[in-house]
């Protein structure tokens, strides 16, 4: 078996990530600022609306909300970028037998870059608010970032191929993430003042919500760190990556015929 990682593949990955990054903000005046404008605009609207209608009092609410939006966007972006990655590279896939896994990984990296730009601003806000930054907590957040990345990588190995065959999946995913946004504790906290006990139970079970709360815990904003649970998440994500890799390598040989 050929080497899975070699210099040429890393360079290819690099070029693809660089190009899609350049392209996204080419010919736009605000350029890279758009990475920030979207989450902060969402943040402002939600903050305003929520403070008018809600009776929940949440400690550090602005940061609670902002971290929720930024990490939910990260999760959502990875899933959509990964899902569309093969379709968007169709013109290359039909002409060159380059390692197709790289199309997926490079697409996900765009999402990771966006997250890191947002993280810088979250740090600035944390510092301005005089919050203590705990290095172990930051390490924990990076670990959670990795879990979300791996989970979506594994998922994309399946969805990227299925989406080439069934284009409906694009709309299904978009709708699912829109609905999931409201079923995830991003602007609210799951408690019995807001939900009946059954609904609260279901929403508490939402793994994205759980991981968002762990991110907040890592920043020292809300809740407690639950490392064993996250190690389990990590293990599941790795398993999904392995299964996805096997499925992808089996199916990708035929992919050129499906376009």
């Amino acid at each position: 078996m050929a080497k899975i990682i070699d210099r040429a593949k890393i360079d290819l990955l690099n070029e693809l990530v660089k190009t899609s990054f350049k392209m996204r903000y080419q010919n736009s005046i605000l350029g890279i600022l758009w990475v920030l404008i979207k989450p902060y605009a969402t943040f402002l609207v939600m903050y305003f609306v929520w403070s008018k209608i809600s009776s929940q009092s949440i400690e550090n609410y602005p940061l609670y909300l902002l971290i929720g939006i930024v990490f939910y966007t990260y999760f959502n972006e990875l899933a959509i970028l990964g899902q569309m990655s093969l379709l968007e590279r169709a013109h290359i896939i039909l002409k060159v037998n380059f390692p197709r896994q790289i199309a997926i990984i490079s697409a996900l990296f765009s999402g990771v870059i966006n997250l890191f730009i947002n993280l810088i601003f979250i740090f600035i806000i944390l510092v301005l608010q005089g919050k203590e930054i705990n290095p172990m907590g930051i390490l924990y957040v990076l670990f959670l970032t990795l879990i979300i990345f791996l989970f979506n990588l594994g998922l994309s190995f399946f969805t990227s191929i299925l989406t080439v065959r069934f284009r409906d999946l694009k709309n299904i995913f978009e709708l699912a993430f829109f609905l999931l946004f409201w079923a995830t504790p991003i602007m609210y906290v799951v408690d019995n003042s807001l939900f009946d006990s059954f609904t609260a139970k279901i929403i508490r079970f939402n793994p994205i919500g759980i991981i968002l709360n762990q991110v907040r815990a890592g920043f020292g904003i809300y809740g407690d760190i639950n490392l064993p649970l996250m190690l389990a998440y990590f293990a599941v994500s790795v398993l999904i990556v392995i299964l996805g890799w096997i499925y992808f390598n089996y199916k990708v040989k035929q992919i050129a015929e499906f376009f």
């Binding site: 040429a8 080419q26 010919n27 065959r165 409906d168």
Partner: protein, 430 residues
Amino acid sequence: MNKDNAITIQNVSKTFLLRDDKKETLRSLFSSFFNQGKSRHFKALKNISFEIKKGEFVGVVGKNGSGKSTLLKIIAGIYSPDKGGKVKINGKLVPFLELGVGFNPELSGKENIYLNGTILGMTKKFLDNKLNDIIDFAELREFIDTPVKNYSSGMVVRLAFSIAIQTDADVFLLDEILAVGDLAFQKKSFEVIKRLKQEQKTILFVSHSMQAVRDLCDRAILIDHHELVEDGKPDKVTYIYEQLFQETEGTSKKDVKGKEKKEKKNDNTTEVGAHELSYTIGGEKAEIISYEFIDHTGKSTLKLESNQNFKFKVKVKSNIDTNNQMILGVMIKDDINHQLYGLHSTYNLKPLKTPPVKIGNILEYECEANLPLNPGIYYVSFVISEGLDYPPYYQDLHQLANFEKIDVYYKQVRWGKVFVEPQFTVTKLD
């Protein structure tokens, strides 16, 4: 499997599922679940087997839609063959199925070198070293930091070709890539391909230019109607390929023959003077407007005497401005369509230089030669090409596909087709 083989293809077939209503949405998936039989199978390749040795330069010829590209895509690993088919490649393979894959028009020429180069499997370090070679070969030094969207199509193709040829591989798949760029660039491209050949690289080369296949390849493969029908010497394979076209062009040829006969009826003698032309290929950039044969007595005729000098005059009108050479070619075939000999205005001992021409200029070519043919019926065809100093760097501009019939006579009976004046002597030995 043989270790000397660069490419081994065994029983490769390829079936595509043609869906009249492509299953792109879940709705159509469900509807076709209940309504099967809407899809049809299409065999793009049927049971192809061949082997290519290391260092061989093999031309793949065939009509459009015959399955050539599918075969190349299978060898390149873009499609996988049907069950039972085997493709084995020995060494690193680089497919140039299309030049400039992944080029991004918004990026500069230089950025596209890195993007396209890495897609073709090169490393950044390798490209750093080759950067200047690539820019110089493409002749784009002034424009290398300009976005590719501002390039002319010729510039894009030059850049793409220059990147592709840097690849360090053992097996190359070239699909029609010699047809790119202007004549000067084509000449450079040919030289690169020849260099690859000298370096003992294995090359699989798809082309519609039979001249290029004959000049470059050691072997050729003909694919017709999804099957491999011929594998052998380029001369033989390209000849069979050309015959395929004459079969399919039968109808249009009949028209011409009908026309010819009509003309002959009006003018029943074989003395025809400058002949009007009716059936041709090309003719946009230059036209052969008339031709004429003159026998050794100075009479304009289609009846020529064997082993005598004869002359032909051809008038060509240019519809372009060019400083390149306008090369006249003549081919003489026998009555069963075998090529007997060709003459070329560059075959002169001191090659003929044509003056620069402007739109509307007319060039008159005159050639005097001995007629080395025995009595019989022969057919003559002309082609005018724009080219550099010598073949194969030329493009055919106008070809007369209706071979003129000439009638060769001699005062005595002669055997065979070629006239040789013997110098027999005889000595009595006792």
